[in-house]
Symmetry: C2
Subunit: 232 residues, 2 copies
Amino acid sequence: MATGEVKVLGSWSSPYVMRARIALHIKSVNYKFIEEKLSEGKSELLLKSNPVYKKIPVLIHGDKPVNESLIIIQYIDDTWPSAPSILPSDPYERAVARFWAAYLDEKWFPSVTSVGIADEEEAKKAGISQMEEGLALMEEAFGKCSKGKGFFGGDEIGFLDIAFGSFLGWLRVTEKINGIGLIDEAKTPALVSWAERFCSHAAVKDVMPDFDKLTEFGKMLFPKIRALAGTR
Amino acid sequence: MATGEVKVLGSWSSPYVMRARIALHIKSVNYKFIEEKLSEGKSELLLKSNPVYKKIPVLIHGDKPVNESLIIIQYIDDTWPSAPSILPSDPYERAVARFWAAYLDEKWFPSVTSVGIADEEEAKKAGISQMEEGLALMEEAFGKCSKGKGFFGGDEIGFLDIAFGSFLGWLRVTEKINGIGLIDEAKTPALVSWAERFCSHAAVKDVMPDFDKLTEFGKMLFPKIRALAGTR
């Protein structure tokens, strides 16, 4: 088992980095946050620690790097097994939480990105519609997973809360830039109150990016990605 | 926790389905295999059990469906925790096994598919080159994970063995159809002997598809996928 100092290589605006930090906060693990400055290119430490993807976040425990945010959360839960636990203890509930977390990464969040970078109205509408379908599924999943309690994980923030909640900043930026409401009382009432609870949770509030700052960042970032996509 | 009869909805040619079956064999769990016949369209049971993706494999335990092959393996390991265990017990080794399994699904196997459906020589060469890069990474990973023993999981087949080994049939079909050697003594000596051990393992040999049958199936399938891709 790895021991030693814990570091997180990351960036303030990345939902995936936020996941690693929230999991460490839940376990009360002290760590050093090392901001990767995109303007300066990727650091030697990042390239060495994640040679396959060269992506943040990387959790470094002693001299051992762990990559991929959902794998990092599970590593943290396994390495500091004292309560509160992050993955559900029941095998079936664990499988369900893993399923929705993978769904959010592979299907749902790409639709958020597609809305951000769409330069045609039709593509934007299609992306928004996909986002809404996903949110309806998550509203339903919340009913099943939370069993009447405040979080997907029950009384406390769990794996799926972290996986989904980390996207709330970018979800709100998408709502703001497009002048639309996606999580709202009419369509997804359970998610509205869940999102409030999540964002004000002690393990989350210090790493949830400032909304105005993230909106400005999105307004700067999306056209750049769009331009890159156009030159492919 | 789920209890009751265990069923697997699947198809003989799917590497992902094979994963679920190998994991059940390792745990000596009796199950009913229900072949989804693609020619007859998707069954009601499949549509009901995996409404989001409508894909095989689905593991059904009692009345509870579990989707996504890597999640299914972890569910099986959690639900029948008696030895032999499938995931490594060390948290770091578990993270490494999860990392490579995700790499194989997200990066490496798509290159195998790209070779199969490529209709231009250049695209085929690029795909083969990506496959070779991935195999070199897996050869290196084998050295680190196996610690001088026979499998990625050590003395016994583990999570990464199942994730990677399930692709061996399609790897060999790709070699055969293109008249090339990808896993061979010169380039990947450790993987050569690992692949032999894996394919002749008691938990594997009855579900590893017949090579000639899979080759014929590939020759029929790839042009169909290519035609579909061309009409997008």
